[in-house]
Every structure is written in structure tokens, then in C-alpha cells.
Amino acid sequence: MPYLATDRLAKPDNGARPDDSWAVAEAGTQRRLVAVNRAAERAGLKPGMSVADALAIRPGLKLAPHEPAEEDALLGRLAEWCSVYTPFAAPDLWREGIGSAGLWLDISGCDHLWGGEEALLNDLTGRLERLGFIVRAAVADTPGAAWAWARFGAGGVVAAGGAREALATLPVSALRFAPDVTLGLARLGLRRIGDLYPLARGPLAARFGSVVGRRLDQALGAEEEPISPLRPPHSLQVQRRFVTPIGRSEDVAAAVRFLLPRLMQLLERQQLGVRRLDLSVFRVDSSSVRLAVGTSRPTRDVNALFRLMALQLDGLQAGFGIESLMLAASVAAPLAARQQDMEDGESAECLSEMLDSLGNRLGFNRIQAFAPAGSHLPERAVRRLSADAAATALIAEPWPDQRRPPILLSRPEAVAVTAPLPDAPPLLFRWRQTLHRVRRAEGPERLEGEWWRDQSPARDYYLVEDEDGGRFWLYRLGLPGEFNPSRWFVHGLFA
């Protein structure tokens, strides 16, 4: 995609006319062009030219700042969309020389679905062109050869085994060398890839390192070059493509309903259940979205999963239409034929469904259960268990016998008190602008942190009741008289 940087901006829906000249310039004092579109190129503009020169040549030039991150993001989205063609699709972030932006697709074993390599290529380029991108594409035996043929050759399909011949006349820079390597090879009179074929590898490696030999081998298929896909493909996935793009959410829901039982069949064969379900939605404008739902335990329940997914479908924007849906069990776990549970079947099932739906909307970390922790300090006396653990019935563990408040302030609040003696409960205290007269009190209960965890002072806790019946958990920091004046805090509210 040689003009990605400018095509991105000069899209027809931005009100751009096809014959406008566009250029992308880097920010800063130098202000040099980074990329130009075809019209600007015809007018004689080149990347590397200063902005002032460019404007002199082409006064109507439309300039935009260079945003590499945006371009990469766009490329990433396009690559994601390309998983319509193959699970192995990745953006090419090679940034040296011309024709930087590109996409890798490993179509081994996928082309027959489209009626051959040629047909697949035509479909791909046709779609990208309709979106306003100028595309050059090639299919070859190796990624290296396809890269070279798309950028420097005629494009199209290189017949199997024909790479050596096809590449021979291309410039050496088609092998993805850094500019200094290309320049060095040129100084030796090596301008075409064919010039490299007869040479001994030893001297080349001594001069340029292993890169020359490796790239050549990669292009000709002597060395493997895997394409690392955006995401590893799932074997547990099903796809549905639509002849006419769909847009209504009912249609999407119906398609999900159609796909779910098929995915469950795949899972059932392997005795697996879904823990996480991904729905990839491919739109006609080459954008895609992924919706994901998680479950608190492995399941193959089509209805439950459908309900969870339906919650996510509400916010789905169909855009210009959806042409394909892919449903994948991205996380699966063994699921035995029948589940054992301590609670009754039906109500346990509805409970786990309900927790799943809560977890998916609110986040599973927002559902917690409690268990006693072995600490004396109130703020550490409770262990919070995750939704996962909470979904199964807990063993009842005993809580301490002492009276504890049902409300514990997340941070103890300092109060001014009147206490007759350092080791006596207060008579009066002022908390949140209200004066409380203590009528009854119980304590002290001395609580200390574990010596191996911290050295914070001990606390003497008192349960006090004011004249209105308000009951508070107060503590004095330190041993009696350790702090002068003594420091008091409200830590909890009793029932």
C-alpha cells in the first residue's frame, strides 16, 4: 500500500477530489515531506523535499501532519479485517525505504475458499480500492518474494516455483535491506537480485553480515519465514459470511444463534466448555470489532451464552453493513458431561448465569465473597475472594467471637476527645461536626499488627454508646500515654 499515509487522509468521504495533491509532512523546524500521493508525485513532489519547495511547485498542496501511530493503528485494523481471508494476517511495520506500509497474509490452504489465488487477490485489492486505498498486491511462494513482487514487480500471482526467475530483474532493495546495505551492494555493482544468485555467500556475509544471504534465502524459500499473526488462530471457531451485508441487530443475533450450536459441537467433541467467547464482526468498510464475554465456569449452554452475547450486541455499530461473523472459544476448559454442585440444579444454573451476566457488564472483580483471614487488625481480618471462587459454595469458616461493627470506615477518622485518663474510654468526642456524649463503653481490646508484618503501634479499641444510642468503634493509637496528647480515631459503626 504505497500511498497509505496520504490515502488515509484523502478519502472521498473527507470531501477530497481524486486529483488533489496531498502530502504528509513531519512536524518541527525541518518540515520535510514524508509521503505524497499519486497526484503530488506526478507534479514532481517527492518525500524528503522541504515543505517550502513543495508549496512553490504545487501551491494547492494539502498538507497534513505525519502520524505514524495512526497509520500503524489503521494497518492493524486492516490486518484484523483480513482475517476474513486467513487466520494468519499481520501488519507489515517495515519502515525503511519506499512502500513501507503493507499487510502480510498467509493464504496457504485458504485460497480454494475463494476460487483460487487470483480470485482471492482480486477480491482483496478490489475491496481495498473501493475504500480509497491504492493497493499493489502479490501472491508468491514465500513472504519475501511476495513482498518484492508487490512493490517492485508487476504484482499479481507469481506461479509456484517461479520466484527465482521473477525476482532476478528486481532491484536488490526489494529484498528488504536497510539503505546502507543497498548502497554498499550498489557500489559493488550489484543492483539486481539476479546479480546475487551466482555469488559465494562467504565474502558477502563478511562484508554485510548474514542479512543478505538470509533475505535471499527467505525470498527463494530456502529459509522459512513465518508470518506472526495478530492473534494465534483458534481451532475452536466457526464463521459465517453473508452474501449481502447485514445491519440489523436482529440479523446479527440470528447469525450468532446459528453459529453457537456449531461451536458447541466442536467443543463437545473435545469435552471442553467455553470460558471466554469472542465474536469478531467484520464490516464492509474493512473495520472490525471484537466482542467478548467471559463465564465463571466452563459451559456449553447455548442459551446462556447467547444471552450473554446479546448483552454485548446492543452496543454494536453495524456501520455500512456486516459481511462476516466469526465466533471463537478463545478460552476453553475441560467440561465433564455433568456438573456436580452443592446447590439444586436449576437454581444453581440460573445463579451462575446471573453472575456471568453481572460479571460481563460490571467486571468479574466487582463480585466478591468474604472469608476470615488470620489477622487481628480489622482492616486485614477479611479475605476477599474473586467471583470465580465465589461461584462455588464456600465452606463456612468461623468468624471471631468478639463484637465487630458491620460498617468499617475504609480509613479511620481522627476525632477530638475528652478522656479523663490515658487508659480510660472517652467521655466526649466530636466526629463529623457532631458532639457525642458517651453513656456506655466497653473495652479496651488491644489489637496489634502481626510483628512480622509491620511495626505499627498497638491500638486500644473501645465500643462506646452515646446518649442517642449511636454505637461507635473508637481506638486510641499506641499504649496508654505512648502519644501525648493521645490520638483517637473512629474506625467503625455498630448496628
Binding site: M354, R361, F370, A396, P406, A495
Partner: protein, 247 residues
């Protein structure tokens, strides 16, 4: 009077409200204090309904939460399944809840970030028959949300408690106002005492729906757990029994 009572029962049945008239419905959750249970048309808190609990003053927040936790514990005793506690804040302390008779091992805390999410989660939970009882700590609710919660609880029979700091709601079947009361003990602080006011109860006898009933109660540890004892109230059991027959 009987005609009116029959009419009320029929309206209740049409509205799908928990069973009335024909003795104590099986779904009711008794509070454990006979004087109070006998005053309620259902012989306790109706299972398929909402019940609102309010603190009389801001200072009574602890007492109101304590009473609500106690009621949730009673639901756990009467029904199977999990207990749900929904709140935006993070200050409930499990050992303190356990001390109010709430089986913490059956409790799930849900902490949404926004009120809208909390109300949605409450509705989802109330629809689920695997829930023994639910408590939602809210700061008021709009009419529509409260109505939705009420419909959800009617459909499933799961009782819901709304610990409400905001404006009083119209949807709940009962509304309780809680005020801390001074305890009694020769030494130290005695058992928790609360002033309870039942300020609203649907299907009370004619003319009494808006009349509050008051009790002073004490939360007692006794054999078999925690229970509530009504120390004084403005109704005797006999009168309440007659009224239940009527309405």
C-alpha cells in the same frame, strides 16, 4: 368491611402481589419477633416483594444497616440459595455482619461503579431463583427503576431489601424506619436496641395503611442463633390477629 377486604384481596391477586387473606403464605420471611410478624399481613416480610429500610437520621445509618443485615440473615434462614449485597461503597465489614446472624459464607458482594449499574444488577439478581435474598444499598431510585425491581421480585419470589438513603419509594410493600436506641446493661454496652417504625405497609386494614406502627426491639443472641425480641410496641398480638383475618 369483609366486602372491602375481599375486594382488596382480589386487587392484590390481580396485581400479582404475594398471597393475601388465606393464612400465612409459605413464601413469607418471619422477622422472628412474634409481635411484629403478627402485625404484618403476610406473617412476616412477603417473599415476592420489596421492603424499604431507612435510617431516621444520618447518625442511625449503622442501626439501619444492622437491621437490614439482620433481615437478610432471616431470609437466608428461610430460603435456599445465595445472598446478594449490592452497594456502591466499600465499607461493610464481614465479621460485623456475621455478628448480626448473617451467614457470610453465602454472601456475595457486588460493587458496581454507578447507580444505574447497581439497579440493573439488582434487577438481574432479583430475577434469579437461586438467590435467597437481596439487599441493595441505594441513594433513591427513579420511579421506573423501582417499579422494575418490584416486578422482578414478584416474578421470581425473591425478597428484596432496599436500604435507601434517598427519597422514599412507592414500589416497596413495606417501609421501615430505624433509629438506634440506648442499650440496657449493668456493665458495658448491652445488646443492640433499635426503634422500628413500620411507616408503610400495603394491605393493612382500611385506613391503617398510612398509620405507623412502632416497636422497640432488642437483637439477642440465643440458642440457635440471633433473634429479635420486641420489648414494647403499640399493638397487642390479639388485635393484630383479628386484623390479619380481615385483610
Amino acid at each position: 368491611m369483609p366486602d372491602l377486604a375481599q375486594l382488596r384481596a382480589r386487587i392484590g391477586a390481580l396485581e400479582g402481589l404475594p398471597g393475601l387473606g388465606a393464612g400465612r403464605p409459605a413464601g413469607a420471611v418471619p422477622l422472628g419477633a412474634a409481635a411484629i410478624d403478627d402485625s404484618l399481613p403476610w406473617g412476616g416480610l412477603a417473599a415476592g416483594g420489596l421492603h424499604e429500610i431507612r435510617a431516621e437520621k444520618a447518625d442511625d445509618a449503622g442501626a439501619a444497616l444492622g437491621f437490614a443485615a439482620y433481615l437478610l440473615g432471616r431470609m437466608a434462614k428461610a430460603r435456599r440459595g445465595r445472598l446478594m449485597w449490592l452497594t456502591l461503597s466499600d465499607h461493610i465489614h464481614a465479621p460485623g455482619l456475621a455478628g448480626l446472624g448473617l451467614p457470610v459464607d453465602r454472601l456475595l458482594l457486588v460493587r458496581p461503579a454507578r447507580t444505574a449499574d447497581l439497579l440493573w444488577a439488582a434487577e438481574e439478581s432479583l430475577r434469579c431463583k437461586g438467590v435467597a435474598g437481596l439487599l441493595a444499598d441505594i441513594d433513591g431510585a427513579d420511579f421506573r427503576s423501582a417499579r422494575r425491581l418490584s416486578l422482578a421480585t414478584r416474578g421470581s419470589g425473591v425478597p428484596g431489601l432496599l436500604l435507601n438513603r434517598g427519597a422514599p419509594l412507592g414500589a416497596p410493600l413495606t417501609r421501615w424506619q430505624v433509629k438506634a436506641a440506648a442499650s440496657e446493661a449493668t456493665i458495658g454496652v448491652g445488646a443492640w436496641r433499635w426503634h422500628l417504625a413500620l411507616t408503610r405497609c400495603r394491605f393493612m386494614a382500611a385506613g391503617e395503611e398510612d398509620r405507623s406502627l412502632h416497636w422497640l426491639v432488642e437483637a439477642k443472641y440465643a440458642k440457635g442463633g440471633f433473634s429479635l425480641v420486641a420489648l414494647s410496641g403499640d399493638r397487642s398480638v390479639g388485635q393484630a390477629g383479628q386484623r390479619r383475618q380481615a385483610g
